[in-house]
Symmetry: C2
Subunit: 223 residues, 2 copies
Protein backbone atom coordinates (compact mmCIF):
# COMPACT_ATOMS: atom_id res chain seq x y z
CA UNK A 1 0.00 0.00 0.00
CA UNK A 2 1.29 3.43 -0.94
CA UNK A 3 0.24 6.85 0.37
CA UNK A 4 1.10 9.58 -2.13
CA UNK A 5 1.95 12.83 -0.37
CA UNK A 6 2.27 16.22 -2.07
CA UNK A 7 1.13 18.68 0.61
CA UNK A 8 1.79 21.87 -1.41
CA UNK A 9 -0.64 21.41 -3.07
CA UNK A 10 -1.75 18.46 -5.23
CA UNK A 11 -2.88 16.03 -2.53
CA UNK A 12 -4.45 18.85 -0.47
CA UNK A 13 -6.42 19.94 -3.54
CA UNK A 14 -7.46 16.35 -4.26
CA UNK A 15 -8.79 16.04 -0.68
CA UNK A 16 -10.63 19.37 -0.92
CA UNK A 17 -12.24 18.68 -4.29
CA UNK A 18 -13.34 15.14 -3.40
CA UNK A 19 -14.64 16.23 -0.01
CA UNK A 20 -16.57 19.05 -1.66
CA UNK A 21 -18.37 16.57 -3.86
CA UNK A 22 -16.31 16.08 -7.03
CA UNK A 23 -17.56 12.93 -8.77
CA UNK A 24 -13.97 11.74 -9.15
CA UNK A 25 -10.53 13.07 -10.02
CA UNK A 26 -8.31 11.97 -12.89
CA UNK A 27 -4.61 12.69 -12.27
CA UNK A 28 -2.61 13.18 -15.47
CA UNK A 29 0.97 14.20 -16.11
CA UNK A 30 0.74 16.75 -18.92
CA UNK A 31 -1.38 19.77 -19.86
CA UNK A 32 -2.39 18.41 -23.31
CA UNK A 33 -3.51 15.18 -21.64
CA UNK A 34 -5.54 17.19 -19.12
CA UNK A 35 -7.30 19.01 -21.96
CA UNK A 36 -7.87 15.85 -23.97
CA UNK A 37 -9.20 13.76 -21.03
CA UNK A 38 -11.41 16.56 -19.72
CA UNK A 39 -12.98 17.04 -23.16
CA UNK A 40 -13.56 13.32 -23.44
CA UNK A 41 -15.16 13.05 -19.98
CA UNK A 42 -16.85 16.43 -19.86
CA UNK A 43 -14.73 17.39 -16.88
CA UNK A 44 -12.79 20.37 -15.62
CA UNK A 45 -9.14 20.52 -16.66
CA UNK A 46 -6.86 22.07 -14.04
CA UNK A 47 -3.20 22.50 -13.34
CA UNK A 48 -0.34 24.90 -12.92
CA UNK A 49 3.15 25.27 -14.23
CA UNK A 50 5.60 27.45 -12.34
CA UNK A 51 2.93 28.79 -10.01
CA UNK A 52 0.52 29.98 -12.68
CA UNK A 53 -2.54 28.36 -14.27
CA UNK A 54 -1.08 26.42 -17.20
CA UNK A 55 -1.63 27.76 -20.70
CA UNK A 56 -4.79 26.30 -22.18
CA UNK A 57 -6.40 25.61 -18.79
CA UNK A 58 -8.89 27.69 -16.80
CA UNK A 59 -8.27 26.35 -13.31
CA UNK A 60 -5.25 25.97 -11.07
CA UNK A 61 -3.83 23.88 -8.24
CA UNK A 62 -5.31 25.69 -5.27
CA UNK A 63 -7.55 23.70 -2.91
CA UNK A 64 -9.56 26.91 -2.39
CA UNK A 65 -10.60 26.95 -6.06
CA UNK A 66 -12.84 23.94 -5.52
CA UNK A 67 -15.71 24.74 -3.12
CA UNK A 68 -18.78 22.53 -3.31
CA UNK A 69 -20.90 25.03 -5.22
CA UNK A 70 -18.36 24.77 -8.04
CA UNK A 71 -17.08 21.18 -7.96
CA UNK A 72 -20.12 19.19 -6.76
CA UNK A 73 -20.82 16.25 -9.11
CA UNK A 74 -18.13 17.35 -11.54
CA UNK A 75 -15.09 15.45 -12.79
CA UNK A 76 -11.77 17.12 -12.11
CA UNK A 77 -8.84 16.32 -14.42
CA UNK A 78 -5.77 17.51 -12.55
CA UNK A 79 -2.29 17.69 -14.00
CA UNK A 80 0.52 17.55 -11.44
CA UNK A 81 4.22 16.88 -11.89
CA UNK A 82 5.78 15.52 -8.69
CA UNK A 83 2.69 13.65 -7.51
CA UNK A 84 1.91 11.98 -10.82
CA UNK A 85 5.46 10.69 -11.18
CA UNK A 86 5.17 9.06 -7.76
CA UNK A 87 1.81 7.56 -8.70
CA UNK A 88 3.40 6.03 -11.81
CA UNK A 89 6.21 4.61 -9.63
CA UNK A 90 3.64 3.02 -7.31
CA UNK A 91 1.80 1.52 -10.30
CA UNK A 92 5.06 0.21 -11.78
CA UNK A 93 5.84 -1.48 -8.45
CA UNK A 94 2.36 -3.02 -8.51
CA UNK A 95 1.20 -1.46 -5.24
CA UNK A 96 -2.05 -3.23 -4.34
CA UNK A 97 -3.64 -0.09 -2.87
CA UNK A 98 -2.85 3.56 -3.58
CA UNK A 99 -4.34 6.49 -1.68
CA UNK A 100 -3.37 10.15 -1.39
CA UNK A 101 -2.78 12.08 1.81
CA UNK A 102 -2.24 15.56 3.16
CA UNK A 103 -3.04 17.36 6.39
CA UNK A 104 -6.64 18.17 5.37
CA UNK A 105 -7.38 14.42 5.31
CA UNK A 106 -4.85 13.19 7.90
CA UNK A 107 -7.32 11.36 10.17
CA UNK A 108 -9.04 9.65 7.24
CA UNK A 109 -5.66 8.33 6.01
CA UNK A 110 -4.67 7.14 9.49
CA UNK A 111 -8.01 5.44 10.07
CA UNK A 112 -7.79 3.68 6.69
CA UNK A 113 -4.22 2.46 7.34
CA UNK A 114 -5.14 1.17 10.80
CA UNK A 115 -8.06 -0.77 9.37
CA UNK A 116 -6.12 -2.24 6.43
CA UNK A 117 -3.05 -3.28 8.47
CA UNK A 118 -0.89 -3.71 5.38
CA UNK A 119 2.73 -2.76 4.83
CA UNK A 120 2.75 0.94 4.02
CA UNK A 121 5.10 3.11 1.98
CA UNK A 122 4.64 6.81 2.73
CA UNK A 123 5.64 8.32 -0.61
CA UNK A 124 6.75 11.95 -0.31
CA UNK A 125 6.60 13.59 -3.71
CA UNK A 126 9.12 16.30 -2.85
CA UNK A 127 9.90 19.11 -5.23
CA UNK A 128 11.83 18.57 -8.46
CA UNK A 129 13.45 15.42 -7.07
CA UNK A 130 14.43 17.13 -3.83
CA UNK A 131 13.47 16.37 -0.28
CA UNK A 132 11.00 18.81 1.24
CA UNK A 133 9.84 19.49 4.77
CA UNK A 134 6.06 19.61 4.34
CA UNK A 135 5.71 16.16 2.77
CA UNK A 136 8.10 14.67 5.33
CA UNK A 137 6.15 16.32 8.16
CA UNK A 138 2.92 14.78 6.91
CA UNK A 139 4.62 11.36 6.83
CA UNK A 140 5.79 12.11 10.41
CA UNK A 141 2.23 12.97 11.46
CA UNK A 142 0.96 9.65 10.09
CA UNK A 143 3.78 7.74 11.82
CA UNK A 144 3.06 9.56 15.07
CA UNK A 145 -0.50 8.24 15.04
CA UNK A 146 0.40 4.73 13.84
CA UNK A 147 3.47 4.10 15.95
CA UNK A 148 1.81 1.73 18.43
CA UNK A 149 0.36 -0.46 15.69
CA UNK A 150 3.10 -0.47 13.04
CA UNK A 151 6.87 -1.12 13.02
CA UNK A 152 9.18 1.50 11.51
CA UNK A 153 11.69 -0.06 9.14
CA UNK A 154 13.87 2.77 7.94
CA UNK A 155 15.84 5.81 9.02
CA UNK A 156 13.76 8.14 6.87
CA UNK A 157 10.56 7.25 8.78
CA UNK A 158 12.35 7.75 12.06
CA UNK A 159 13.57 11.15 10.89
CA UNK A 160 10.09 12.14 9.68
CA UNK A 161 8.68 11.23 13.06
CA UNK A 162 11.37 13.13 14.99
CA UNK A 163 10.78 16.15 12.78
CA UNK A 164 7.05 16.03 13.37
CA UNK A 165 7.55 15.74 17.12
CA UNK A 166 9.64 18.89 16.94
CA UNK A 167 7.45 20.97 14.61
CA UNK A 168 4.03 19.30 14.55
CA UNK A 169 2.47 21.23 17.44
CA UNK A 170 2.45 24.42 15.37
CA UNK A 171 3.12 23.82 11.70
CA UNK A 172 2.11 27.33 10.71
CA UNK A 173 4.71 28.80 13.03
CA UNK A 174 7.42 26.68 11.37
CA UNK A 175 6.16 27.06 7.79
CA UNK A 176 8.21 30.19 6.99
CA UNK A 177 11.33 28.01 7.23
CA UNK A 178 10.19 25.76 4.38
CA UNK A 179 11.79 26.45 1.00
CA UNK A 180 8.43 25.91 -0.67
CA UNK A 181 6.77 28.51 1.58
CA UNK A 182 8.96 31.20 0.06
CA UNK A 183 7.93 30.24 -3.44
CA UNK A 184 4.22 30.07 -2.64
CA UNK A 185 3.86 32.99 -0.25
CA UNK A 186 6.56 35.47 -1.21
CA UNK A 187 6.27 34.96 -4.97
CA UNK A 188 2.58 34.15 -5.31
CA UNK A 189 0.92 35.42 -2.11
CA UNK A 190 -0.73 32.09 -1.38
CA UNK A 191 -0.79 32.26 2.42
CA UNK A 192 -4.41 31.02 2.60
CA UNK A 193 -3.40 27.97 0.56
CA UNK A 194 -0.58 27.27 3.01
CA UNK A 195 -2.96 27.54 5.97
CA UNK A 196 -5.42 25.14 4.37
CA UNK A 197 -2.75 22.62 3.34
CA UNK A 198 -1.24 22.51 6.85
CA UNK A 199 -4.49 22.26 8.83
CA UNK A 200 -5.62 18.81 9.89
CA UNK A 201 -8.97 17.35 8.90
CA UNK A 202 -10.60 20.21 7.03
CA UNK A 203 -11.48 17.72 4.25
CA UNK A 204 -12.15 14.34 5.87
CA UNK A 205 -12.12 12.11 2.81
CA UNK A 206 -10.13 9.10 1.59
CA UNK A 207 -8.97 9.50 -2.03
CA UNK A 208 -8.56 5.95 -3.33
CA UNK A 209 -6.98 5.21 -6.70
CA UNK A 210 -9.05 2.90 -8.88
CA UNK A 211 -8.56 2.37 -12.60
CA UNK A 212 -7.11 5.76 -13.35
CA UNK A 213 -9.40 7.72 -11.01
CA UNK A 214 -9.30 8.95 -7.44
CA UNK A 215 -12.64 8.16 -5.83
CA UNK A 216 -14.03 8.48 -2.30
CA UNK A 217 -12.95 5.37 -0.37
CA UNK A 218 -14.57 4.12 2.83
CA UNK A 219 -12.84 4.78 6.15
CA UNK A 220 -13.97 4.63 9.75
CA UNK A 221 -15.82 7.85 10.34
CA UNK A 222 -16.95 8.52 6.78
CA UNK A 223 -17.04 7.57 3.15
CA UNK B 1 33.16 22.49 -2.49
CA UNK B 2 31.86 19.06 -1.49
CA UNK B 3 32.18 17.21 1.81
CA UNK B 4 31.78 13.47 1.32
CA UNK B 5 30.18 11.85 4.35
CA UNK B 6 30.01 8.11 5.00
CA UNK B 7 30.13 7.86 8.80
CA UNK B 8 29.73 4.02 9.00
CA UNK B 9 32.56 3.63 8.13
CA UNK B 10 34.48 4.78 5.04
CA UNK B 11 35.08 8.42 5.94
CA UNK B 12 35.74 7.56 9.60
CA UNK B 13 38.36 5.02 8.48
CA UNK B 14 39.90 7.56 6.08
CA UNK B 15 40.23 10.05 8.96
CA UNK B 16 41.73 7.42 11.27
CA UNK B 17 44.26 6.09 8.75
CA UNK B 18 45.41 9.56 7.63
CA UNK B 19 45.64 10.82 11.18
CA UNK B 20 47.64 7.77 12.14
CA UNK B 21 50.23 8.58 9.49
CA UNK B 22 49.17 6.91 6.26
CA UNK B 23 51.13 8.45 3.40
CA UNK B 24 47.91 8.88 1.43
CA UNK B 25 44.72 6.99 0.62
CA UNK B 26 43.48 5.96 -2.81
CA UNK B 27 39.70 5.43 -2.94
CA UNK B 28 38.60 2.96 -5.62
CA UNK B 29 35.24 1.43 -6.47
CA UNK B 30 35.99 -2.25 -7.04
CA UNK B 31 37.97 -5.03 -5.35
CA UNK B 32 40.00 -5.93 -8.50
CA UNK B 33 40.95 -2.25 -8.84
CA UNK B 34 42.00 -2.16 -5.17
CA UNK B 35 44.27 -5.17 -5.76
CA UNK B 36 45.69 -3.77 -8.99
CA UNK B 37 46.36 -0.26 -7.66
CA UNK B 38 47.84 -1.51 -4.38
CA UNK B 39 50.24 -3.80 -6.26
CA UNK B 40 51.25 -0.94 -8.53
CA UNK B 41 51.85 1.49 -5.65
CA UNK B 42 53.13 -1.01 -3.09
CA UNK B 43 50.18 -0.18 -0.85
CA UNK B 44 47.69 -1.98 1.35
CA UNK B 45 44.45 -3.03 -0.33
CA UNK B 46 41.42 -2.90 1.92
CA UNK B 47 37.69 -3.16 1.71
CA UNK B 48 34.59 -5.07 2.68
CA UNK B 49 31.57 -6.46 0.96
CA UNK B 50 28.49 -7.26 3.03
CA UNK B 51 30.31 -6.71 6.31
CA UNK B 52 33.23 -9.07 5.64
CA UNK B 53 36.73 -8.44 4.31
CA UNK B 54 36.31 -8.77 0.56
CA UNK B 55 37.65 -11.87 -1.15
CA UNK B 56 41.23 -11.32 -2.29
CA UNK B 57 41.90 -8.60 0.30
CA UNK B 58 43.56 -8.85 3.72
CA UNK B 59 42.15 -5.76 5.41
CA UNK B 60 38.69 -4.38 6.07
CA UNK B 61 36.76 -1.16 6.57
CA UNK B 62 37.21 -0.70 10.30
CA UNK B 63 38.91 2.50 11.51
CA UNK B 64 40.37 0.43 14.36
CA UNK B 65 42.36 -1.71 11.91
CA UNK B 66 44.64 1.23 11.12
CA UNK B 67 46.67 2.27 14.21
CA UNK B 68 49.89 4.18 13.58
CA UNK B 69 52.21 1.21 14.18
CA UNK B 70 50.54 -0.46 11.21
CA UNK B 71 49.63 2.33 8.79
CA UNK B 72 52.42 4.91 9.35
CA UNK B 73 54.01 5.91 6.02
CA UNK B 74 52.00 3.34 4.10
CA UNK B 75 49.61 3.85 1.19
CA UNK B 76 46.06 2.63 1.80
CA UNK B 77 43.97 1.63 -1.23
CA UNK B 78 40.40 1.53 0.04
CA UNK B 79 37.46 0.20 -1.90
CA UNK B 80 34.08 1.59 -0.83
CA UNK B 81 30.74 1.55 -2.57
CA UNK B 82 28.50 4.40 -1.39
CA UNK B 83 31.34 6.86 -0.76
CA UNK B 84 33.13 6.29 -4.06
CA UNK B 85 29.96 6.79 -6.06
CA UNK B 86 29.46 10.13 -4.37
CA UNK B 87 33.08 11.09 -5.06
CA UNK B 88 32.55 10.32 -8.73
CA UNK B 89 29.40 12.48 -8.71
CA UNK B 90 31.37 15.38 -7.21
CA UNK B 91 34.10 14.96 -9.85
CA UNK B 92 31.51 14.82 -12.64
CA UNK B 93 30.02 18.09 -11.34
CA UNK B 94 33.52 19.61 -11.36
CA UNK B 95 33.58 20.41 -7.64
CA UNK B 96 36.61 22.64 -7.11
CA UNK B 97 37.44 21.17 -3.71
CA UNK B 98 36.54 17.76 -2.28
CA UNK B 99 37.16 16.67 1.30
CA UNK B 100 35.82 13.84 3.45
CA UNK B 101 34.19 14.17 6.85
CA UNK B 102 32.97 12.15 9.79
CA UNK B 103 32.67 12.74 13.52
CA UNK B 104 36.34 11.78 14.22
CA UNK B 105 37.42 14.79 12.13
CA UNK B 106 34.42 17.10 12.67
CA UNK B 107 36.34 20.13 13.97
CA UNK B 108 38.94 19.89 11.21
CA UNK B 109 36.18 19.92 8.58
CA UNK B 110 34.39 22.86 10.22
CA UNK B 111 37.60 24.87 10.57
CA UNK B 112 38.46 24.23 6.90
CA UNK B 113 34.98 25.27 5.68
CA UNK B 114 35.04 28.45 7.78
CA UNK B 115 38.43 29.39 6.35
CA UNK B 116 37.51 28.65 2.72
CA UNK B 117 34.11 30.41 2.80
CA UNK B 118 32.91 28.72 -0.39
CA UNK B 119 29.50 27.31 -1.23
CA UNK B 120 29.34 23.89 0.36
CA UNK B 121 27.44 20.73 -0.53
CA UNK B 122 27.32 18.25 2.36
CA UNK B 123 27.16 14.96 0.47
CA UNK B 124 25.64 12.17 2.56
CA UNK B 125 26.55 8.82 1.00
CA UNK B 126 23.64 6.96 2.58
CA UNK B 127 23.30 3.21 2.25
CA UNK B 128 22.38 1.55 -1.05
CA UNK B 129 20.75 4.76 -2.33
CA UNK B 130 18.76 5.26 0.88
CA UNK B 131 18.78 8.04 3.39
CA UNK B 132 20.50 7.22 6.66
CA UNK B 133 20.57 8.90 10.03
CA UNK B 134 24.30 8.87 10.82
CA UNK B 135 25.40 10.73 7.68
CA UNK B 136 22.56 13.24 8.07
CA UNK B 137 23.48 13.78 11.72
CA UNK B 138 27.07 14.55 10.75
CA UNK B 139 25.79 17.08 8.19
CA UNK B 140 23.65 18.52 11.00
CA UNK B 141 26.69 18.77 13.29
CA UNK B 142 28.58 20.72 10.62
CA UNK B 143 25.59 23.01 10.01
CA UNK B 144 25.23 23.56 13.76
CA UNK B 145 28.76 24.92 13.91
CA UNK B 146 28.57 26.92 10.67
CA UNK B 147 25.10 28.43 11.05
CA UNK B 148 26.26 31.93 11.98
CA UNK B 149 28.60 32.16 8.98
CA UNK B 150 26.69 30.36 6.23
CA UNK B 151 23.14 30.51 4.80
CA UNK B 152 21.09 27.33 4.60
CA UNK B 153 19.46 26.93 1.18
CA UNK B 154 17.42 23.74 1.38
CA UNK B 155 14.94 21.79 3.46
CA UNK B 156 17.31 18.84 3.79
CA UNK B 157 19.96 20.98 5.57
CA UNK B 158 17.30 22.38 7.86
CA UNK B 159 16.13 18.85 8.68
CA UNK B 160 19.70 17.66 9.31
CA UNK B 161 20.22 20.54 11.69
CA UNK B 162 16.94 19.92 13.54
CA UNK B 163 17.82 16.24 13.86
CA UNK B 164 21.26 17.04 15.23
CA UNK B 165 19.78 19.46 17.74
CA UNK B 166 17.53 16.67 18.94
CA UNK B 167 20.07 13.80 19.02
CA UNK B 168 23.50 15.39 18.91
CA UNK B 169 24.03 15.74 22.67
CA UNK B 170 24.33 11.96 23.01
CA UNK B 171 24.73 10.20 19.69
CA UNK B 172 25.64 6.88 21.31
CA UNK B 173 22.38 6.85 23.22
CA UNK B 174 20.42 7.32 19.97
CA UNK B 175 22.56 4.98 17.84
CA UNK B 176 20.52 1.83 18.54
CA UNK B 177 17.67 3.43 16.58
CA UNK B 178 19.77 3.62 13.39
CA UNK B 179 19.08 0.91 10.80
CA UNK B 180 22.80 0.64 10.15
CA UNK B 181 23.52 0.07 13.85
CA UNK B 182 21.60 -3.19 13.70
CA UNK B 183 23.63 -4.40 10.78
CA UNK B 184 26.97 -3.47 12.29
CA UNK B 185 26.39 -4.34 15.93
CA UNK B 186 23.84 -7.13 15.95
CA UNK B 187 25.16 -8.93 12.87
CA UNK B 188 28.86 -8.17 13.14
CA UNK B 189 29.48 -7.13 16.77
CA UNK B 190 31.17 -3.88 15.79
CA UNK B 191 30.17 -1.74 18.77
CA UNK B 192 33.71 -0.32 19.15
CA UNK B 193 33.59 0.80 15.54
CA UNK B 194 30.28 2.58 16.20
CA UNK B 195 31.74 4.32 19.25
CA UNK B 196 34.75 5.51 17.29
CA UNK B 197 32.73 6.67 14.29
CA UNK B 198 30.34 8.72 16.44
CA UNK B 199 32.95 10.39 18.68
CA UNK B 200 34.07 13.88 17.72
CA UNK B 201 37.67 14.74 17.02
CA UNK B 202 39.48 11.49 17.77
CA UNK B 203 41.31 11.90 14.44
CA UNK B 204 41.84 15.61 13.82
CA UNK B 205 42.85 15.56 10.19
CA UNK B 206 41.56 17.06 6.92
CA UNK B 207 41.40 14.49 4.11
CA UNK B 208 41.70 16.50 0.90
CA UNK B 209 41.17 14.94 -2.53
CA UNK B 210 43.98 15.67 -4.97
CA UNK B 211 44.57 13.83 -8.24
CA UNK B 212 43.05 10.54 -7.18
CA UNK B 213 44.42 10.59 -3.64
CA UNK B 214 43.24 11.71 -0.23
CA UNK B 215 46.07 13.60 1.45
CA UNK B 216 46.39 15.58 4.68
CA UNK B 217 45.18 19.12 4.01
CA UNK B 218 45.97 22.17 6.11
CA UNK B 219 43.35 23.47 8.54
CA UNK B 220 43.44 25.85 11.48
CA UNK B 221 44.75 23.77 14.36
CA UNK B 222 46.74 21.25 12.38
CA UNK B 223 47.91 19.84 9.10
Amino acid sequence: MVVIIDVFRATSTIAAALHNGAKYIVPVDTVPKAIQVSEHLGGIAAGERDGKIAEGLQHGNSPLEYPSDFIQDKILVLTTTNGTRLLQLALDQEADTIITGSFPNLSAVVSFLLKQKKNVVLGCAGWKDRFNLEDTLFAGAVIDRLQDDFTIHCDSSLTAHQLYQQMGADLLEHAPKFTHYHRLVERFGLIEDIRFCLTADLSPVLPLYQEGMLVRGAFKGGI
